[in-house]
């Protein structure tokens, strides 16, 4: 047995144990008392329609975001993370099919009118994108970006809007004197700060950060993470942090969701997901992180499924070492290992059932 298989065995055993341990917790409706829910998504699916095919980029996702909490979403490329982030404010291309429910502070985002949705965007939910280089209009000064955003939501004079823009820039560490400059006159890191300033000029309740720091160097990355964390603490912002970087996740997250093939296959507190990963994919993902002093590189063989024709069963079945016939047949049900820890895996479900039988 190689190292990999040993690790997976360990994960498997852990999962079964965890299942057994948490039978009681699973029977309790897992709501988190005392916390203010900002957004909850139920059975959320996003299907892109292209000319030739339907891409099921996001499938049956359940998600809860709380005030003052950072929820990190991790997963390989093209597994639907950005899609999920954009879907939360219904910012998907025309013709995209979104089903399910997104309740944001008591309103279902998916049934809002265009105008209601527009008023929500920016003011209450803000979105920062991965690539700051292309996200500012090259023909507009930074000041105009602020004025336009503010005037879209409030009756406010240019002067006043520019002032607020200057203050927002100052808060993210960009000299307000550069308000009249054009985007191409800034570095990538500065542009991302500007994007953040633009996102936070309204003091939103929820910030979706889609790999906001991925394209930046480590120093700027650390600064921006620090900035996000202090904003969270100061304003009680809820943050959905989409990222590739597990190091960042460990550092700032309260909750972690692992996405694979359009599904959130495992989610829970950072502690649960990192220290008691139940889904085999999570185990593989954690193992493939390169630590200082790693002597052996490990990775998961194979490729994630093509979301244009996803497999009928578990999306991870083709790469999973624990897969059984059932895994190829049906998508695994949700197993609740604690009030917060949920997993979609037949193995875990079986472990839970075993635990129940043993009682």
């Amino acid at each position: 047995m190689n190292v990999e298989a040993v690790k997976i065995e360990a994960v498997k055993a852990e999962a079964v144990k965890a299942g057994a341990r948490n039978v009681e917790a699973a029977t309790v409706e897992p709501s988190e008392f005392g916390k203010e829910t900002v957004l909850s998504a139920r059975n959320l699916s996003t299907y892109y329609r292209t000319k030739r095919r339907v891409v099921k980029a996001c499938e049956a996702v359940n998600l809860d975001l709380y005030r003052g909490e950072v929820y990190s979403l991790v997963g390989e490329s093209a597994c639907g993370k950005s899609t999920l982030g954009a879907t939360l404010m219904n910012l998907v291309p025309d013709g995209t099919e979104v089903t399910g429910e997104i309740v944001f502070r008591g309103r279902n985002v998916l049934t809002l009118s265009k105008e209601e949705l527009r008023r929500l965007r920016g003011t209450e939910i803000a979105l920062i994108f991965q690539d700051p280089m292309t996200r500012l209009d090259p023909l507009m000064t930074i000041e105009k970006h602020f004025v336009e955003a503010l005037q879209s939501h409030e009756p406010i004079s240019r002067r006043e809007a520019a002032l607020r823009g200057a203050r927002a820039l100052d808060a993210v560490g960009v000299p307000p004197s550069r308000l009249r400059d054009y985007p191409h006159q800034f570095s990538g890191g500065m542009r991302q700060r500007i994007m953040i300033a633009l996102a936070l000029v309204f003091e939103p309740v929820l910030l979706v950060s889609d790999e906001a720091t991925t394209s930046l160097d480590v120093v700027v990355q650390a600064q921006i993470l620090h900035l996000m964390r202090s904003l969270k603490d100061r304003y009680g912002l809820a943050i959905l942090n989409i990222t590739h970087d597990l190091g960042v996740v460990a550092e700032i997250s309260d909750k972690v969701g692992v996405m694979y093939g359009g599904h959130v296959v495992e989610q829970g507190t950072a502690l649960e997901v990192f220290h008691r990963p139940a889904h085999p994919y999570t185990g593989g993902l954690l193992n493939s992180v390169v630590h200082m002093g790693t002597t052996q590189l490990s990775w998961i063989d194979g490729m994630p499924p093509d979301l244009g024709s996803p497999p009928p069963g578990c999306p991870y079945a083709d790469r999973c070492d624990l897969e059984s016939a059932e895994c190829h047949r049906s998508f695994p049900p949700e197993s609740r290992l604690s009030a917060t820890h949920r997993v979609h895996c037949h193995r875990v479900a079986a472990g839970l059932a075993q635990g129940r039988d043993a009682q």
Partner: protein
């Protein structure tokens, strides 16, 4: 650092551009000179008709200076052109510039108003279609674009003449001005402007009435292509990352569409539109012929048939200058739109 950009750098740029166009002009003039002489047909023979004797023709050739060695003719031509002298027309025996300036301004006036119409219709249809992509309205816009482009322009012209001029009698059929009034004195050569300078309202109305049909027909014709360009480029920019980001900030959709979508689509549109304008200075022949508009295009055709070398050379020089000026105008406009060009 902030705001407008540096005028001095723009000026330097323009001067540089002008200098760079000199070799191009030189090549063009040489090409015209050579082509005219290589093509069959002789100016003297063309002017005197089929029955003229060889002696008479030769005498005329001598007077026209065509019997001098080609090299001498060539350097004379280039030298004169550089001094701003376009020479004398063989046919009319007056300076080419005096002939050309009336024709040129007539064409300018026609093309300018046609463009005004084309820009208004093109922008309206283009923006409308782009914002309603995939709907019946969008389809209508596309059909408009294809139809206006596909219809022969003289057919459209004749139909309009029949309907608006002959049947309804609202507008004159053809020509640039009525015979009952003297045209406004030449200041700019544009009748509309010159009428205003003279302060003659009746002349202004007359000029506009004569302009209406040809300018509209030409304008509608160009507006189709223009609308399609606006639509295509806008659809492109509306897909861009900064547009999605603006939507994520809840920017009003009208602003997303116009300030981000349209404005970013303008750079390529302005470029093509400007070049189209320059081309039309010489290429509005069909419209000019249909409406007997005394413009440069139809004038050039006549001079070509007569082998009026100086006139043809002069007109081509004027066209070339028009293209050069237009491309500089395009650059300036684009620099005003796009700060990345400006800095």
């Amino acid at each position: 650092m902030a705001g407008r950009g540096k005028p001095s750098s723009l000026l330097n740029y323009i001067v540089l551009r002008l200098l760079l166009t000199l070799p191009m002009l030189f090549i063009l003039l040489t090409l015209v000179f050579v082509l005219l002489r290589v093509a069959p047909g002789d100016p003297a023979a063309a002017m005197l008709g089929a029955h003229a004797s060889v002696e008479v023709i030769d005498e005329l050739r001598e007077r026209m200076g065509l019997n001098r060695p080609l090299v001498v003719q060539y350097f004379d031509f280039i030298g004169d052109t550089l001094r701003g002298d376009l020479g004398k027309s063989f046919r009319f025996e007056v300076p080419v510039w005096d002939l050309v300036k009336h024709r040129l301004t007539a064409t300018l006036e026609l093309v300018f108003f046609a463009f005004l119409i084309a820009v208004v219709i093109g922008l309206a249809v283009g923006i409308f279609s782009a914002n309603r992509r995939g709907t019946v309205w969008d389809l209508g816009g596309n059909v408009y674009g294809i139809l206006t482009y596909a219809f022969p322009i003289f057919w459209l012209g004749i139909m309009c003449q029949l309907f608006f001029a002959v049947k309804l009698g609202w507008l004159p059929t053809s020509g640039r001005f009525t015979g009952f009034l003297s045209p406004p004195a030449m200041h700019t050569g544009l009748y509309v402007v010159d009428s205003l300078i003279e302060g003659r309202f009746d002349k202004l109305v007359t000029s506009l009435r004569y302009l209406a049909l040809p300018a509209s027909v030409l304008g509608v014709y160009i507006s189709g292509i223009f609308a399609r360009m606006v639509r295509t480029n806008m659809l492109q920019t509306l897909k861009s990352d900064y547009v999605q980001a603006a939507r994520a900030r809840g920017v009003k959709e009208r602003w997303v569409s116009l300030r981000h979508g349209l404005k970013n689509a303008l750079v390529p549109v302005v470029t093509v539109l400007g070049l189209q304008f320059a081309l039309l200075l010489g290429g509005a022949v069909l419209t000019e012929t249909t409406f007997s508009w005394p413009g440069l295009g139809s004038f050039l055709v006549g001079r070509l048939l007569e082998r009026d070398y100086p006139a043809v050379q002069g007109i081509v020089t004027v066209f070339a200058l028009g293209v050069v000026i237009m491309s500089i105008v395009i650059d300036i406009v684009n620099a005003l739109i796009d700060p990345r060009i400006r800095y």
